[in-house]
């Protein structure tokens, strides 16, 4: 759950960075709307961590800063690339959530409910980004992003 929470911190930062440098007001509004829904995920994950007597990752501020910079850079490349980046990111998140749901203890229904609600939102955000004009990234680019996301999940799993 700590990994999921850090993922939501990153999502907030990415969307904020992208919205800051977005050119089209409609793209900017779509990014901020998605960020508002991601705030719910952040609160739910934090609550679940508290329920499990666990703490957020100490790496969260660093990942926030890094993700904000990446989001702002993606926004500078233009709205089509930026929205494509949203789709590619959400695709990684959905894959991660699927893996987590498969490994989740059967009796942990509370976590399952949170993850399934998040998965539905993330999947919709990705589809909306493409519908709003995003360019779908190629498989090699997505594989590169997958490697980066593994760095985040491996780091925050324990600290």
């Amino acid at each position: 759950m700590r990994v999921n929470h850090t993922g939501e911190v990153c999502a907030q930062a990415l969307y904020e960075g992208q919205a800051l440098t977005a050119r089209d007001p409609k793209a900017k509004a779509a990014l901020l709307d998605a960020a508002a829904e991601e705030q719910d995920h952040l609160v739910w994950c934090r609550q679940r961590l508290k329920d499990l007597d666990a703490r957020p990752s100490v790496m969260d501020p660093a990942f926030f800063g890094l993700s904000f910079a990446m989001g702002a850079a993606a926004g500078m490349l233009g709205d089509r690339i930026s929205l494509g980046f949203v789709e590619a990111t959400e695709d990684q998140v959905v894959q991660h959530l699927d893996e987590h749901l498969q490994n989740l203890p059967e009796r942990d229904q509370k976590t399952r409910e949170v993850l399934e609600a998040m998965r539905a939102d993330e999947s919709r955000h990705g589809a909306q980004a493409l519908a709003n004009g995003g360019t779908e990234f190629s498989a090699p680019v997505k594989r590169g992003m997958r490697v980066l996301s593994k760095v985040m999940t491996a780091t925050t799993y324990r600290i």
């Binding site: 759950m1 700590r2 919205a19 739910w44 934090r46 329920d51 229904q109 509370k110 976590t111 409910e113």
Partner: protein, 57 residues
């Protein structure tokens, strides 16, 4: 009172910074109910205990 003043980059930076701080400090409020709130806490084994360092999730 309403204002027709256009938002500028500084406004966006300040409000973005505020939201960023709330994200790091964990002070955001959810706009939707927590999906887990109507479910009972299941009994988790040591493997699923986050303090054991072997939590599957």
């Amino acid at each position: 009172m309403t204002s027709n003043r256009q938002r500028n980059v500084l406004d966006d930076l300040v409000s973005g910074f505020d939201r960023g701080l709330r994200t790091i400090m964990g002070t955001h409020q959810a706009s939707r109910p927590n999906p887990a709130e109507n479910f009972e806490e299941g009994e988790l084994t040591a493997r699923a205990n986050p303090r054991s360092g072997t939590y599957a999730g």
